[in-house]
Amino acid sequence: MIRAIFAAAFAVAAAFPAQAAVQIQELTSPGGIRAWLVEEHSLPFTALEIRFEGGTSLDAPGKRGATLLMTSLLEEGAGKMSSQDFATAREGLAADLSFDATDDAVTVSAQMLTENRDQVVALLKSALTEPRFDQDAIDRVRAQIESIIRQDETDPSAIAGQSFDQLAFGDHPYGSSKYGTLDSLAALTRDDMIAAKAATMSREHISVAAVGDIDAATLGKLIDDLLGSLPAKGAAMPPHATLGLTGGVTVTDFDSPQSVVSFGQAGIKRDDPDFFAAYVLNHILGGDGFSARLMDEVREKRGLTYGIGSYLVPMNLAETWQGSFSSANEKVAEAIAVTRKVWADVAANGVTDKELEAAKTYLTGSFPLRFDGNGRIAGILVGMMAEGLPASYVNDRNGYVEAVTLEDVKRVAQRLMTPDALRFVVVGKPVGLATTN
């Protein structure tokens, strides 16, 4: 790794750090679980990230919401500890433990002080391997999720998002809310929690990363102790989604001064050879910051919105290219027209050399800035593992961005961008807009 350090130092002198200042150790625990580690001993704590691929998309038929409810219950009592006992123990150790479920994964994030790490690991192990799923905890957390479902029913952003997902993904799990419906949630039982855990939390599709005050040997033992007793296999992954998006406008009437808009079209797979060209293209079109085309045309030049962005969404089982914004009801038709026009213009003409160079400097320069805290680095590493990227990716990634040419962007824009197939989902009282087929 000496060579890598020299390369990084040279890059600093030339411009700014083109590489992230982390040294990733790849290890396999004695029990056979793969993990990545970055040692950082300047602060006496460790951040640990665990990701189980599959997530809420593994909900069994008729059991929508089971994985999310199950994940929310992991900290609500385990082994001999009730919910209160578990929280009391965690607080007494000053550890952060959190559990979440997304469309693609169940995730566990932990921060633990070096001085009581073994006790925190024992507590976390209890949550991961012997959660109680007590009926009173199920009922209490279910009522909280029901409240969120009801709030989503009157929240224009949630309505727009769910309406878009339904149009895009139909009956695939991606097409419905991970919270489930009031009916599906009401029917879930303790047995469903046990089944959901077995389906979603196994050693089969697991990624583990640690960053902080710990060495490889200690981490290896810790991982085996923590995760070794999980089942070897979980449920089979659901099939790839078939995208049902067509061009047009879908209006949902909602009484509000502003219309919320979600829009999108088909996207690109993360492992497609053109992914980086598409990534750079999207940055120029609607990426972070104030210099993107959409932000410039819709906000800076016309004041039609507070903010607009677009993003490639390469999920495990579907690829979309989405965007969102809000505009006053009287202005939203114009904002949509401008968005379409920008989309069509870039599809036909590509981008300028100046835009491409600015995008590359931003994307390569901002990449190392992401690696600025133990928890954040652990999150990045586990994401890379889940995508099947090698550890060397942190050093190679900027090269992929640099290699994108103006011709690549133009070719990918023509290949991917389908302005006529953009679907706009509008929630509000838009003036001069109606649903089309």
Binding site: V12, L43, Q144, T154, S256, T305, P368
Partner: protein, 449 residues
Amino acid sequence: MFRAFWPFALALCAASATAGEVTSFDLKNGLKVVVIEDHRAPVVTQMVWYKAGSADEKPGVSGIAHFLEHLMFKGTDTVAPGDFSKIVEANGGSDNAFTSSDYTGYFQRIAADRLEMVMKMEADRMRNLKLSEDDWKTELQVIIEERNQRTDSDPGAIFSEQRRAAQFLNHPYGTPIIGWRHEMEGLTRQDALDWYRTYYAPNDAVLVIAGDVMPDKVKALAETYYGPLAPSDGIGERKRPQEPAQLSERRMSFKDPRVAQPYVTRSYIAPERDASDQKKAAALTILAAALGGSSQTSILSKALQFDQKIALYAYAGYDGTSYDDTTFDLAVAPAPGVSLADAEKAMDAVLADVMKNGIPAEQFARIKTQIRAENIYAEDSVASLARRYGEALTTGLTIADVQEWPAVLDAVTQEDVLAAAAEVLDRRRAVTGWMMPEGATDNTTELMQ
């Protein structure tokens, strides 16, 4: 456990870091500079904080502090309109800005060897802003869309704005940061320039540089770029109209068809952290943590969610970092079938019990342990440390206050908490709010009988 319910936009800021090398110096023109070193990654954050927020606005131009924040990206003699962010981005950095009641701040995060460039640009726009006719008019539409999006499309935000207006009868904290819509619509270029010329000057600003930097290098750069800037002669004593003593409880209810989950809120006028006098604020910080800091074990959660099973969520919050008196906030979202009246009664019963019996000793000890650990975790984010210093120095505190804060928190006793609770938790000095779906029965007066 599910965390999705925050009727107040306040978070518990439990502690401050004491390790981490912090250096400070003043330039001759009055600019205070704070340097926080973190050499783990070759990254730096520059933040410029102005001691001017919405509570410093004159009557009639609400929103001007925030409007100017937007207009600060519209260029100078050397940087074209909109180019500030483009230049930062083209150098791999990111930037943004924020406005609060007490301060306005601008920041860039960028590779450490680009620090000189962003210091030069930030210093330039401190005194040399240019505003064209087209630019300010378009941006006025943007902030009105921002209000549409953040406030008027969100019944929780509307009600919060109304409650705050009721809380502060005379102090400008009662006026929303983004401004009242009818006053925003009338803001002009001249209003913006008046605000800018008064407050945007080195003698009203704090510069925080945090990350992979050395203090002597920062000092040299600060003297080169910020040193020549002229101070403003418009900076007087920072004195806002103060609240009269509140003698009568204030209650309000709000109905909106977009409300699916009703809740009750309570906010009490409460003292803030004062320079070298932070003890009472520390006691209130611990009180808030004890009442609502944990979604499982804190006193309100345990009593209302676990024991009585009448609430879905319970919340308590207090942030003492404020220039003038602030609020101590509570909220309870009742379980289905439980009325707001019953939820409020249960909340008050818990408070009465705490005021009589104090915080359980074991819980008190756990909160102290967590606060000590928080000091270690906080060191992991140098950008958060930079915010902590900037916020403190623009709300009347000193660097010593920031560094003493963890020790002040650690020294709080049960008696301190009880004394603070007795002083603050008085309904005669509170606003109680009921948030309801359209068509709900408003029996808010029932409680008064």
